[in-house]
């Protein structure tokens, strides 16, 4: 049975990188005694894949990993068992059955991601950032230079920014909401958008200036022209 696990990563666990988080979940599966399936071969490994690596320093309310299990245990019991062996900084939110077909794999489905971006020190922002933000987004194209393994290439971010709003959180601090193209094809990191904005608005964005929080990951649904996004969690069902 194929399972999708949704979890949240917060607090000091943001310093634990993706590879170490994979190891963490492998050990957690054993501690929780989840009847996870292994690959065949001389050195079998757990069948487990993550939807999208989260960079060091980022927190998230919507991370996903897919596994395969042998026995039937209820969603509720599994969430309880896993949370009983978690450390502070990782919380399992759901444990759902997903369709058996290969196309349902989280990693290949990821099409978009929601982010909240805050500023460690909001005083670096120019006056009236909202206005500048609107003007920035109103450009015909948002051209950035993206560094890839092969070198640098120019990229227009505009069609890859599905939503972008300059918001304020409860205590009035600026908090940018972004829904960005994500996944293997056109992956846009939120810092790329904010760096483009800083360049446009003419302020400096020092190292570690951004506090980035991922809200959720989505699969694409609907026609290519009018994409609709479905949370990866909603593709599974409780059992």
């Amino acid at each position: 049975m194929k399972i999708r696990i949704k979890f949240r990563k917060y607090g000091i666990m943001k310093f634990i990188g993706h590879l170490d988080l994979m190891r963490y979940f492998q050990k957690a599966m054993r501690r929780a005694d989840i009847d996870i399936c292994y690959s065949s071969g001389f050195s079998p490994h757990m069948i487990m894949s993550f939807a999208s690596p989260l960079g060091v320093g980022l927190t998230s309310d919507g991370e996903y990993l897919d596994i395969e299990i042998g026995n039937e245990l209820s969603s509720q019991a599994a969430v309880q068992r896993l949370n009983a062996v978690m450390t502070e900084g990782v919380e399992v939110l759901s444990f759902r059955r997903i369709p058996e077909d290969k196309a349902s794999n989280a990693m290949s489905l990821v099409a978009a991601a929601d982010y909240e971006v805050r500023f460690r020190d909001p005083s670096i922002l120019p006056e009236n950032p909202e206005k500048l933000w609107e003007a920035f987004l109103g450009q015909a194209a948002v051209t950035v230079v993206k560094k890839t393994k092969k070198g640098e290439r120019e990229l227009d971010l505009k069609p890859l920014i599905y939503q972008a709003e300059w918001r304020r959180d409860e205590d009035g601090a600026p908090c940018v909401f972004l829904r960005l193209s994500s996944g293997s094809a056109d992956n846009v990191k939120p810092e790329l958008v904010l760096e483009a904005f800083a360049a446009y608005a003419g302020f400096a964005l020092p190292e570690f200036a951004l506090l980035i929080h991922r809200k959720d990951l989505y699969a694409a649904a609907g026609a290519a022209k009018e994409p609709r996004f479905v949370s990866l969690e909603d593709l599974g069902e409780e059992f």
């Binding site: 607090g11 000091i12 310093f15 170490d20 492998q26 501690r31």
Partner: protein, 643 residues
């Protein structure tokens, strides 16, 4: 949410921030207001090394079982964070509470190898604790050292308030109780040290005075405080089955050297190799019961979720119930995705059968540790392994599909000649030939024989404690001889040769048999920037040479000097159970090239029998088993070798 001693900017800038977060699975959190004693346990090397150490896991668990004690951990900050902490004046902190180490009641530092000594000064320095013990007040923790290097604590004497000699499970609680009492009565630090000096196994260096002969050797070492004993006795756990063993070991987030459950099946070794310090220090050899080990294995795998379990001991093949234990592990965990690693096994039909079940024969290698290249020299060092046994074991392994062999030797052993050195190459060649005796269609490509040599360092409390150590040039000349001889062999293309660095070995030799005088050079070297000396990229020999010169110390006094049999050694005030008389007899037998039988075959009266436990006659805890008495110590080492 947990507070951190380091801010985000620092943690995001440094390598592997997880080294400094704590919060690992099975880390113990307590309310500092509800404990009386806060103990910070330190392994003075980087996190990945320190977290792999079983001893700290045992003591961490033991201390934290007490409600009135909270034991936490600290490791050496890596050079990137070290720099930032100095620039920003950030005090060194313990991982669990993230509180400054200086606020603790105790700082316990494990001394596993000499090359971590500058890191001890780093830990004290970054904590803001005066390096010199006599300058400390109640504003500072009691700094206590333990572990194998504590059997010659003198090079570190001025930096420590106390040393614990022997195995930690026995006397620590008495020390904690004495501390609580003295603090409750508002007693002085001196008062506590006096109480501590009366606890078995505790050495208070400031209570002793040493006088020297004109030639620099020790004339006498006298206690100058009435509470200090003339001899400090090594502490030994008499029942290894009914004692502390962690059921919930810590599970780090980042990959550490020993990323697995470690099951210490026994302590000590019956073999009596004359160069081996552990073989003398951990006498008598004591086993844990099969039932205890099975139970511990189950509980530890369950609580950690580790995917591997490894047996740990100096010579696993000598454990009397090894077959049953290994069978249990394979039957219980073999189909659950848990790997089983079996270090230091003698290669025979049983071990090859077991290994073929638990590892991929094509990928794994066999390890032999003949230690010396000729039978004559193996007799000198009392390594009872013979060439026939090695070739027989290798042959069986080759026929079982293995084609990789690792061979470990030492260069610079007492009485060693050029013939002995060349013997290393010849033995490797014979093993290669044995491989190519297998018909071409039945063997698995070429064989790979890796020969590694380390340079011999004479250690305290071994029969070779009197030995002259070689110079750097002599060492390199020996390695050159081996290298050239290997190149002369027919199967040279199947043999790879690695040798150890000589400079760092010489330094290790100075501190291994050093006295109080060398501490000055240590301090100077640290002040010049020496740190992480066991990491070759951080080892600066020229700074060390400067430090010795400025301290007015001639390193050759500690290394190449000939020591007489009547010399008083800096460590002679410690009683490890094994007598100096026995060691001297073994030193003489080495020169006679006479092999001494192992403890099970025939008791040699080394002195350890006074602990009335383990393998010693009259202890009643183990029957003499003939099948273990065979004098072949052929070894398989797999995975993490004990440092």
């Amino acid at each position: 949410m947990k507070k951190l001693a380091l801010n985000d900017e620092i943690l995001l800038r440094i390598d592997k921030p997880a080294r400094y977060l704590g919060n690992e699975i099975n880390a113990v959190m307590k309310d500092p207001e509800k404990v009386d004693v806060r103990f910070c346990m330190c392994f003075p090397d980087v996190y990945e090394i320190g977290m792999s150490h079983l001893g700290i896991q045992i003591l961490y668990d033991m201390f934290n079982q007490r409600e009135d004690v909270w034991c936490e951990r600290v490791y050496s900050p890596w050079t990137d964070l070290d720099r930032i902490m100095r620039e920003q004046n950030i005090p060194l902190f313990a991982l669990e509470s993230q509180d400054p180490v200086r606020n603790f009641d105790f700082l316990g530092i494990t001394l596993q190898y000499e090359m971590c000594y500058t890191n001890i000064l780093q830990v004290l320095d970054l904590s803001g604790i005066p390096l010199n013990a006599v300058e400390r007040t109640w504003e500072d923790p009691i700094v206590i050292g333990g572990g194998p290097c504590a059997v010659n604590p003198e090079p570190l004497a001025e930096f420590f308030d106390l040393f614990y000699i022997g195995e930690g499970e026995t006397s620590y609680f008495a020390l904690i109780d004495a501390y609580k009492e003295v603090r409750r009565k508002n007693g002085s630090r001196q008062e506590f040290l006096e109480r501590a000096a009366e606890i078995p196994g505790i050495y208070v260096p400031s209570f002793y005075e040493i006088s020297y002969h004109e030639d620099g050797t020790i004339a006498s070492m006298e206690p100058v405080n009435p509470h200090a004993p003339r001899k400090v006795e090594k502490q030994v756990v008499t029942d290894l089955t009914h004692t502390y063993y962690p059921q919930k070991p810590l599970v780090p987030f980042i990959k550490v050297t020993q990323d697995r459950v470690v099951l210490e099946i026994q302590r000590g070794c019956i073999r009596g190799c004359r160069f081996c310090q552990a073989g003398m220090l951990y006498r008598p050899t004591r086993e844990r019961s099969l039932e205890m080990l099975e139970d511990a294995a189950l509980k530890m795998l369950e609580s950690t979720g580790h995917e591997e379990i490894s047996l740990s001991s100096l010579s696993s093949s000598d454990y009397s119930r090894l077959q049953e234990l290994v069978t249990f592990l394979i039957d219980t965990f073999g189909n659950k995705g848990v790997n089983i690693s079996l270090p230091s096994l003698r290669i025979d039909a049983f071990s090859l059968d077991v290994m073929s079940k638990v590892q991929d024969v094509r990928k794994s290698s066999l390890t032999f540790a003949p230690e010396a290249g000729s039978q004559r020299l193996r007799d000198v060092i009392n390594k009872g392994l013979t060439e026939e046994v090695i070739l027989e074991g290798a042959g069986q392994a080759f026929e079982g599909g293995w084609n990789k062999v690792k061979l470990y030797f030492m260069l610079g052993l007492p009485t060693e000649t050029e013939e002995d050195q060349k013997g290393i190459a010849h033995l490797a060649e014979k093993i290669a030939r044995r491989y190519y005796e297998i018909p071409k269609d039945q063997r698995n490509g070429k064989c790979q024989i890796t020969v590694s040599t380390s340079f011999f360092v004479p250690k305290p409390f071994t029969p070779f404690q009197w030995a002259r150590m070689c110079t750097r040039e002599e060492f390199l000349e020996k390695a050159h001889t081996v290298n050239m001889e290997i190149k002369e062999q027919l199967n040279r293309k199947s043999i790879k040769y690695n040798w150890h660095e000589a400079d760092v070995t010489v330094l290790e030799g100075i501190f291994a048999r050093g006295d109080r005088k060398v501490s000055r050079a240590l301090r100077l070297a640290y002040e010049k920037g020496c740190l992480f000396d066991s990491w070759s990229e951080h080892f600066h020999n020229e700074l060390w040479l400067e430090a010795f010169q400025e301290a007015g110390i001639d390193p050759s006094f500690y290394t190449t000097r000939h020591r007489g049999t009547d010399e008083v050694f800096p460590w002679d005030f410690i009683d490890i159970g094994v007598t100096k008389k026995f060691l001297l007899k073994e030193w003489e037998r080495a020169h006679e090239e006479t092999v001494t039988p192992n403890c099970l075959a025939q008791c040699q009266g080394c002195g350890a029998a006074r602990y009335h436990t383990g393998v010693c006659p009259g202890s009643g805890s183990r029957s003499q088993k003939q099948d273990c008495a065979a004098p072949n110590a052929q070894k398989v080492k797999e995975g993490g070798n004990e440092a």
